[in-house]
């Protein structure tokens, strides 16, 4: 195969593959920066995927579908927020149970739609002008979905907001030391709720991308661990939105490269690669972290209780 074509195809596929990871991981970064860990991403993506598909199928409009996907993620995460923030229960178990519930519910609800292709899927776009560029054009600007570019924009906006605005400073501070934020007179719970809800919204959109754009259909194993990989991605990027983009693209590239090796290795072993790679990425992060003394937000996973209440 022509090397040029190989590289182009790999990068293009990597971008597409990375898109749901980017959406979900960005959402998780925002949630975890506020100190609330959300292990329900996998389930929320599944709910988003099935809801998006069902709505798009019945209304014939993918954008309503996408909106519904986001709403489904939002609704599920509001449950998690309530349990973890207001009730101050164990956020890890709450998230995990939502994944189980989300996967089961989505499979249940999605039975009617299994195997039926979406008549009006999201169409890939070519970016005007930029897609004409030699080599770079077909690599990055042809045949991708709007959601892919939207993810990059959201990442950039998230970075600017997190590091250059007061709101972002407050978010980061809540995740590090909620008592300090409380003593400064700011609403810790409200910030956490907002962060978790945004996380759910983005996870829902990630699922919607899968069922509306990436492979426009619904199947029970659709999410297939991508939510968990997105969680790993959030850690690997050290909770920084820009790094999420780079890490996500890196993951995507590695997976697609691995698929190229299908002629050499048995397919089952290749499908294993994303998960192996995730473990390696986490090991690498932990190893580097020891040297840089940078870690998770201090208050991650701990409910906040002001002295009296």
């Amino acid at each position: 195969m022509d090397v040029d074509l190989l590289v182009v195809a790999t990068v293009a596929r990597a971008l597409a593959f990375a898109t749901p990871l980017l959406w979900a991981a960005l959402g998780e970064v925002i949630a975890e920066r506020s100190g609330v860990v959300n292990l329900g991403v996998e389930g929320m993506m599944a709910l988003g995927a099935v809801t998006g598909f069902a709505v798009a199928f019945t209304t014939g409009d993918v954008w309503w579908g996408l909106a519904a996907a986001g709403a489904a993620g939002l609704a599920a995460s509001s449950l998690h927020a309530f349990v973890a923030i207001t009730l101050r229960a164990d956020a890890y178990v709450s998230g995990l149970s939502l994944t189980m519930l989300g996967l089961g519910l989505s499979a249940l609800v999605g039975r009617a739609w299994v195997g039926r292709p979406l008549p009006t899927p999201m169409r890939p776009v070519d970016v005007p002008l930029l897609s004409e560029l030699p080599l770079v054009g077909p690599m990055l600007f042809q045949g991708q979905h709007l959601l892919t570019y939207a993810a990059l924009v959201v990442a950039a906006l998230a970075w600017v907001w997190m590091y250059r605005t007061r709101g972002g400073l407050v978010l980061r501070s809540v995740g590090e030391n909620p008592a300090a934020v409380d003593a400064a007179g700011l609403p810790v719970r409200r910030v956490r709720y907002a962060a978790v809800l945004v996380g759910g919204l983005l996870a829902g959109i990630a699922g919607g991308y899968l069922s509306l754009a990436y492979r426009p259909s619904w199947g029970e194993g659709m999410v297939n661990g991508l939510g968990w990989i997105a969680l790993a991605l959030a850690i690997f990027s050290m909770w920084d939105p820009l790094r999420v983009v780079f890490a996500g693209l890196l993951f995507g590239a590695c997976f697609t490269l691995a698929f190229r090796l299908q002629t050499v290795f048995p397919p089952e072993l290749l499908t294993m690669l994303p998960y192996v790679f995730t473990v390696l990425a986490l090991v690498f992060t932990a190893w580097r972290r020891g040297r840089h003394a940078f870690g998770a937000p201090e208050a991650l996973g701990r409910p906040y209780l002001r002295g009296e209440r």
Binding site: R166, L169, R172, S173, E176, A183, A184, G185, R291, G307
Partner: protein, 517 residues
């Protein structure tokens, strides 16, 4: 400096009450703070001072009582409302985000700061406040790297930038060197000279004497006396009010003649060329002790401001942290890093840790289990792989009686005990087996007078039985009363060692601050 009698006081409290389950923290407290005045709230630990400050700052709602600001009644439901009024709190435990810079922390607490790049906007204001009051701070320094004194400065600037007209300081000098205390007082005096007010909580008589215009004395949540500087503040009078009786005679000072080097026992603890490297590359070691020896029967005090290597020193001696270099000898035998804490425990090293409730005991476990905590692998508690719970109960009942531990039963979870009793549990456990080396870290912090005296007695008794005692404390009075020799740590090194008889607070304070920036 004194309040103008015709204007209403800046802050006025009447009949403030607050109860917690089983305890009345505050009962009917009245307080007036005038403009341009420094009002000290004096009392022992547990007298309710912190609770009162939390009420003033809106962190805690009182069960009864009224508050008035400049004559107008107010009810504070949150710190935000307190800040809006002009009340600023410099708490004992700083509310700072360690990972962020100084100016980022300031931006957090600043109500009116702009949304875009808030830190940029604050830097000029920070510089202005710093110049006005004489506080120097690097805006971009990361809080984690700052000393406690510098962190306190950040808290103060935070309050000032928020427009505080009344500054509340809760035990501000507990983490400062004597020089830093002077610096703080001059800042406060400048603040007050402008007409603002200061409420300052303390249990240290000398400081209250030096700074306050009015003193309110709290005991068990009630106001038991009020004095003004104008009428003259007498230390003994204040002490009597604080404690409720004439101060017990000071802890029996050691009979120094009896423990001169000639009569002291063999060297039981020796650190030689011990180094603990810093985790970040390229920084100097956090602990570098060339030589430290403690003999049986001797009490060596370690003085120094927190964060100068004391915890590392303690952890190396107790085996909780491996030394990067050098040797630790217990009773002449060099103990490597390999066996960790258990090796030290078996060698007879006892540790009374700094954090009583989280490290010294397991709160959810019963008192009897806590008494078996560090020695569960040895007789009489262990029989092969099994635990002899009857032996555990037996030993714990004896310990409770011997140490007069106030607990409903030996099955009560340790978290239900008061601080003093928790310390008794720890002492009972650690001192029970005649340890050869006893390391005690801030053993009387937060304890009332009676518990402090008992703790001191137990430590002295251990020394009298031949143990080598290493006492790490920030309370210079405690060190001077108990220790034979006092070593000062600063920047991870032992910068001075002196016989207690020759030591005085000034010399110690200078040594403590000597190497600090």
């Amino acid at each position: 400096m004194s309040a103008d009698p015709s204007r209403p006081p800046r802050l006025s409290l009447r009949g403030i009450e607050k109860r917690y389950p089983g305890v009345r923290a505050l009962g009917g407290v009245d307080l007036d703070v005038g403009a341009g005045s420094v009002h000290a709230v004096l009392g022992e630990n547990g007298a309710g001072k912190s609770t009162l400050m939390h009420v003033v700052y809106g962190l805690v709602t009182p069960d009864a009582g009224e508050m008035a600001w400049e004559g107008r009644p107010v009810r504070l439901r949150s710190p935000r409302e307190a800040i809006a009024l002009g009340i600023g709190l410099v708490a004992q435990h700083f509310h700072l985000v360690e990972r962020h810079s100084v100016v980022e922390n300031l931006a957090l607490g600043f109500p009116g700061v702009r949304a875009w790049r808030p830190t940029r906007a604050l830097i000029p204001q920070l510089r202005a406040a710093a110049d006005r009051y004489g506080l120097s701070l690097d805006p971009h320094a990361i809080v984690r790297d700052l000393s406690p004194g510098e962190r306190q400065r950040v808290e103060i600037v935070k309050a000032l930038l928020q427009g505080a007209r009344l500054l509340v300081l809760d035990e501000p000098t507990s983490v400062l060197t004597p020089a830093e205390v002077d610096a703080l007082f001059s800042v406060l005096r400048r603040f007050v000279a402008e007409g603002s007010s200061v409420v300052f909580v303390s249990h240290k008589l000398a400081e209250v004497e030096a700074l306050a215009d009015v003193v309110t004395v709290l005991r068990r949540g009630e106001v038991v006396g009020r004095r003004t500087a104008a009428d003259g503040l007498d230390r003994r009078d204040l002490a009597r009010l604080m404690v409720g009786r004439d101060l017990a005679p000071p802890v029996r000072a050691r009979d120094r003649a009896a423990s001169s080097p000639a009569t002291a026992g063999p060297v039981r603890l020796r650190l030689h060329q011990v180094r603990v490297d810093a985790t970040a590359r390229g920084r100097p070691p956090v602990l570098a002790v060339d030589e430290l020896m403690v003999r049986g029967g001797e009490i060596v005090g370690v003085a120094g401001v927190a964060g100068n290597g004391q915890s590392e020193l303690v952890e190396v001696v107790a085996g909780l942290r491996p030394a990067s270099a050098g040797s630790v000898e217990i009773d002449g035998r060099q103990l490597g890093n390999g066996r960790g804490a258990r090796g030290r425990i078996d060698a007879g090293v006892a540790l009374v840790p700094e954090d009583r409730t989280k490290v010294g005991v397991v709160g959810d476990l019963a008192v009897d289990r806590n008494l078996a905590l560090r020695h569960a692998h040895r007789r009489p508690f262990a029989r092969g792989v099994w635990i002899d719970w009857r032996a555990v109960r037996r030993v714990s009942e004896a310990a409770v009686a011997d140490f007069a531990i106030a607990t409903p039963s030996t099955r009560t979870p340790a978290r239900m005990l008061s601080g003093g009793n928790v310390q008794k549990v720890i002492l009972a456990r650690e001192l029970a087996r005649d340890p050869g080396v006893v390391v005690a870290v801030h053993p009387t912090y937060g304890l009332d007078v009676a518990a402090t005296a008992q703790t001191h007695e137990r430590l002295l008794a251990a020394a009298a039985r031949g143990a080598a005692v290493l006492l790490v404390s920030e309370d210079l009075d405690e060190l001077l009363a108990l220790a034979d020799r006092i070593a000062v740590v600063a920047g991870g090194r032992l910068v001075a060692t002196m016989a207690a008889a020759d030591a005085d607070p000034e010399a110690l304070g200078l040594a403590m601050a000597g190497v600090a920036a």
